[in-house]
């Protein structure tokens, strides 16, 4: 057994048990809340009501959905790979839950304050792709396979700008630990790292396949992508993984850029929830607004736009830290915002989303 930190109440196993329960309850409750929230918010944005029958304001709608999913028949395609088909939702959900092990809900309140917290998140979150690809492969369905291949391509590409923009934050905080990163944010890093935030947010949206990068389950093109052949609770698990990842990304953005649980007056955990909800609202808002990009445009965006800008952002951040170690960080806020605006405008002049016709 590892050495116990002094502030872990009740010893290693009690702490472990308590936090596993907290994380499960938190993730499940928040995902159900988010599903309700997304449907209501989308409804209002789309000039309709959204679910409002089950319970007050339709709050029990997710519960009703889960009951329906649990009682549905589980169908496995006749020529599908039965075991992989069964395993895929598990592989998709487990890493999503593991991410929350290092998410700081408030000061000192995380399951494990790993000193490589953010690195752990990057490593673990990539495993979900495997689950999605397994789902697409095992379904023995061409739509599913197309969706799964799109997923792998996009995640492999977007991992790079995402990690590069995280490094900017790590440079400023001087630590990989999620707790330390929050503690370092006397100024929220969204102000110090506006470009990094933009790149991270776009990249993260692509990684969790939210609009406008929801190509892998583009319902107007490939029906439902990788989960076309799933039904019942297996589909429910894939859905849980997807929304859990959206929740995880919201929590990570909150921690890295919005100074985590810190805020005046209100209790820390409430600040954390408010910020997570706000980030998720932006994700929903984008979904209600923009059309979907095409696969080659998705790739072009990652490699021609996000990747070079992430490198530049890293360079600028490093130079700033080297040159102005003593200057108050507030000075850098307007400078960095100006740099972001100039860079984004210049780069979008140089760069055009391609037309993409292939001669055959």
């Amino acid at each position: 057994m590892a050495v116990l930190p002094a502030d872990w109440p009740g010893g290693f196993w009690v702490h472990w048990g308590v936090f596993v329960v907290i994380i499960f309850v938190f993730v499940l409750a928040m995902v159900m809340g988010f599903i309700w929230f997304e449907r209501r918010a989308l409804g209002i944005m789309q000039a309709r009501l959204g679910p409002n029958r089950a319970g007050p304001f339709g709050l029990l709608q997710p519960v009703a959905d889960v009951i329906k999913l649990l009682t549905k028949e589980d169908i496995v395609p006749a020529k599908g790979d039965k075991w992989v088909h069964w395993l895929a939702p598990v592989v998709a959900v487990a890493p999503m839950l593991m991410i929350f092990a290092v998410v700081p809900f408030q000061g000192g309140a995380s399951m494990a304050d790993l000193n490589i917290g953010i690195l752990y998140i990057v490593a673990v979150s990539s495993i979900s792709v495997l689950g999605v690809f397994m789902a697409g492969w095992a379904s023995n369905n061409k739509y599913s396979l197309l969706g799964a291949m799109r997923m792998v391509a996009s995640v492999v590409s977007y991992e790079i700008p995402v990690v590069l923009s995280i490094i900017g934050v790590v440079l400023l905080a001087g630590s990989l630990s999620m707790q330390q990163i929050v503690m370092a944010q006397d100024i929220p890093f969204i102000l110090l790292q506006p470009l990094g935030f933009l790149l991270f947010f776009i990249g993260a949206c692509a990684e969790i396949n939210r609009a406008p990068f929801d190509l892998l389950e583009a319902d107007s093109e490939i029906v439902a992508g990788f989960n076309t052949e799933y039904s019942g609770m297996k589909w429910g698990l894939l859905f849980l993984a997807e929304y859990g990842e959206a929740l995880a990304i919201s929590a990570i953005v909150t921690t890295l850029f919005l100074s985590g649980w810190r805020g005046p007056v209100l209790p820390p955990w409430l600040w954390f929830l408010i910020k997570v909800g706000a980030v998720f609202f932006v994700i929903v808002w984008i979904r209600a607004t923009v059309p979907r990009v095409r696969i080659d445009q998705l790739m072009a965006l990652a490699w021609k736009f996000l990747f070079p800008l992430a490198l530049l952002n890293l360079l600028i951040t490093a130079v700033e830290i080297l040159v102005f170690p003593a200057v108050s960080l507030w000075v850098l806020v307007p400078i960095n915002i100006a740099i972001m605006i100039v860079l984004v405008i210049l780069w979008s002049r140089l760069f055009k989303l391609g037309w993409g016709r292939v001669e055959v």
Partner: protein, 367 residues
């Protein structure tokens, strides 16, 4: 090492979220790129042309409702026009105006669906289509007032329309005409200049001018390719020569132009509605025609500018109470013939929006 790849065949449809009905495309894909595409028709074939030969001339009107069910009024219009030409029946002035008002309202309603679902195919998750259904709802309310129906109106009759418009119709129409331009501006503010939409639709699925003429395309698909042809101007029927309106055309013939042409046509329809509403005379709405029409032996072709293109009805009479031959020139079927040329070489995602930009209604394609 070179990995050996081979193209594979994917069936899009007949039951697919984006085929707008039961249409099937057999696509040969090389990765995401379309190497070949073969449309398969006929899943919604109901034999309407044959069924019509067993019915009286008036009895055929409900059948025409069921051709292009998103534009029933214009189907009625084209059919009764053909019968009137066949039998030499004149239509009272007031009925002509009511017909034009209905046809233009129908054009707006149909284009709202076309543009909305097209943007939905582009991946704008449900928002545009729901905004546009909101306005379509108001048009359906207007139709409900005059015909009592919301989808299959069965409103026009040989020699006029089935009944006069109720009192509350004109105030409601005035309100609609006043508000509609603002709503069209709202749609434009939402997505007209959106970078992703431009990247997805500009230059995609080009239908060259020559090809469009060669396949005898019509409607917004033809006009987006830069051909200024509109039956309302080219062969004025009813009273369209009394109204002022422009014919919006595109230049490139791509998906974006087809989308823009439809939006602009909505504005022009509002213009026509405004004029027709002001000039609406009083009088009869139906001339005295016998219940069972016996047109003299002969043939007639009535065509109008329906929302989706040139809709024509070709009728042959043998002096009985039923048409001897009843043929529909369905604009969407003919527009679809260019589908393969427009699609090959593009990606799967483009195929969906190219198909959506043609705006078909399978009930009319298969009949």
């Amino acid at each position: 090492m070179v990995i050996k790849t081979e193209p594979f065949v994917v069936n899009f449809g007949p039951a697919h979220p984006s085929t707008h009905g039961v249409f099937r495309m057999r696509m040969t894909l090389d990765g995401e790129v379309i190497v070949d595409m073969e449309p398969v028709f006929g899943y919604l074939h109901r034999g309407i042309e044959k069924l019509a030969e067993e019915r009286t001339y008036t009895g055929c009107i409900p059948l025409t409702d069921r051709l292009d069910y998103t534009a029933s009024m214009t189907n009625n219009f084209a059919y009764v026009l053909a019968v009137e030409r066949l039998a030499g029946i004149t239509v009272p002035e007031r009925a002509e105006y009511i017909r034009v008002i209905m046809a233009e309202l129908q054009r707006i309603a149909s284009h709202l669906i076309a543009v909305g679902t097209f943007l939905n195919d582009c991946g704008a998750f449900m928002t545009p289509v729901l905004y546009m259904l909101r306005e379509r709802e108001k048009i359906l309310d207007l139709f409900d007032m005059v015909s009592g129906q919301r989808l299959t109106y069965n409103y026009m009759r040989v020699g006029g329309v089935s009944q006069d418009i109720p009192e509350e119709f004109i105030p409601a129409l005035k309100k609609f005409v006043k508000e509609m331009p603002g709503w069209i501006d709202e749609y434009d503010r939402l997505l007209k200049e959106n970078e992703i939409l431009l990247a997805r639709t500009k230059g995609v699925g080009i239908l060259p001018k020559e090809l469009a003429i060669n396949i005898s395309a019509s409607g917004p698909v033809l006009r987006a390719s830069g051909v200024k042809r509109d039956i309302r101007r080219a062969d004025p029927y009813s009273i369209y020569d009394r109204f002022e309106f422009d014919i919006p055309t595109g230049t490139a013939g791509d998906c974006y132009d087809r989308y823009r042409v439809r939006i602009e046509e909505m504005r022009q329809s509002v213009r026509i509605l405004k004029q027709a509403m002001e000039q609406l005379p009083k009088g009869k709405v139906r001339s005295d025609v016998p219940h069972l029409t016996h047109p003299p032996v002969g043939e007639a072709y009535g065509h109008i500018e329906a929302p989706r293109g040139e809709l024509g009805f070709y009728l042959v009479s043998d002096n009985s109470i039923a048409p001897y031959r009843f043929h529909v020139r369905a604009p969407t079927l003919i527009n679809l013939t260019a589908l393969r040329d427009m699609m090959v070489g593009w990606k799967v995602a483009d195929a969906i929006i190219i198909f959506g930009s043609i705006d078909i209604c399978v009930a009319e394609v298969d009949r």
